[in-house]
Symmetry: C2
Subunit: 155 residues, 2 copies
DNA sequence: GGTCTAATCTGCAAGCATTGTTGATTGCCA
DNA sequence: TGGCAATCAACAATGCTTGCAGATTAGACC
């Protein structure tokens, strides 16, 4: 995405007004590269601007998505995630435990489909999703298991 | 997934009861390879058994998913899709127009990640999603465009 | 700076997919 | 065949997202 200042320009060019609420959303997204949900963006904006509504955050995220400034991702984590990195093509790693998302780069050209794709189908995007458990959630699982061991031994 | 008869066995083995409702869901899934949504499964079962509830269909789909008989897919189409083909690893092609899903096989081993994946992360699944427009939706789009041309010319 | 108007804001209600609850029903083992 | 736990249907509730309506405000024009 562009910087908050550049976004201000772009919004005016397209005929959209630049409100303090929108600028606050710009700033949060520009600094947050963790693929936040709308709710998370809302919480972070609300720290600076407690009166903002979740509805406005959704609206601004949609505007930015329509303008191609951010990406709207559905990674199966329940809520949509927003990705401010549209400059460099990349894919995603998703922790099924905590919903953490990380970017990964992959060489799509190296990917071989065993059969050719159906001829009539016009591909717009090929997406790679790596699911699993992050370091933190793995450790937590191990702790829980050893706890269970102890309580079983104690009982 | 196993055949309806084999599923009857498996359900009893696990201590789940085999009701007519469940058998009807088994049959629909066994024959339908279009990756139906819960709603679609419900509609098809309801043709034979109009009193079944959507809740029961969801419950049975969840049971089958837990047993590994079917796959629960989130392809960003709004509702979850259920895939009865768990025997052969494959990936999916999704039409962004009508939600049609097709299986595609891809050689995951050929896929190169430019940086290695984070060391602490335990990968459970790597999923490839090809989005685009199917033949049918492409044709429809073209029709619509030429219609627009005509009405513009006529006006 | 002041005025004006359309765009935007907030708060709330509604929509959709899915799950929780509950009392009635039924599979299935003895 | 009886009995009980599992399951059913109907309905309420959830979580995420969007629609709506009246109050507010950005920004063009004077």
């Amino acid at each position: 995405m562009h910087s908050p200042e550049e976004l201000t320009q772009r919004f005016r060019e397209v005929g959209l007004k630049v409100t303090p609420q929108r600028q606050a959303v710009f700033r949060v997204l520009y600094q947050n590269h963790t693929h936040p949900s709308a709710e998370t963006v809302y919480e972070q904006v609300a720290e600076q601007m407690p009166t903002i509504s979740l509805r406005t955050v959704y609206q601004t995220l949609n505007d930015l998505t329509d303008m191609g400034e951010i990406l709207h991702l559905d990674l199966g984590t329940g809520s949509a995630r927003f990705d401010s990195n549209v400059e460099h093509a990349h894919h995603h790693l998703v922790c099924e435990g905590c919903g953490l998302v990380r970017d990964v780069e992959a060489d799509l050209d190296s990917l071989k489909f065993n059969e050719t794709l159906p001829s009539g189908f016009l591909v717009s995007e090929t997406e790679i999703l790596v699911r699993g458990q992050c370091e933190h959630c793995l450790a937590q699982d191990q702790n829980r298991r050893s706890q269970d061991q102890h309580s079983k031994a104690g009982a």
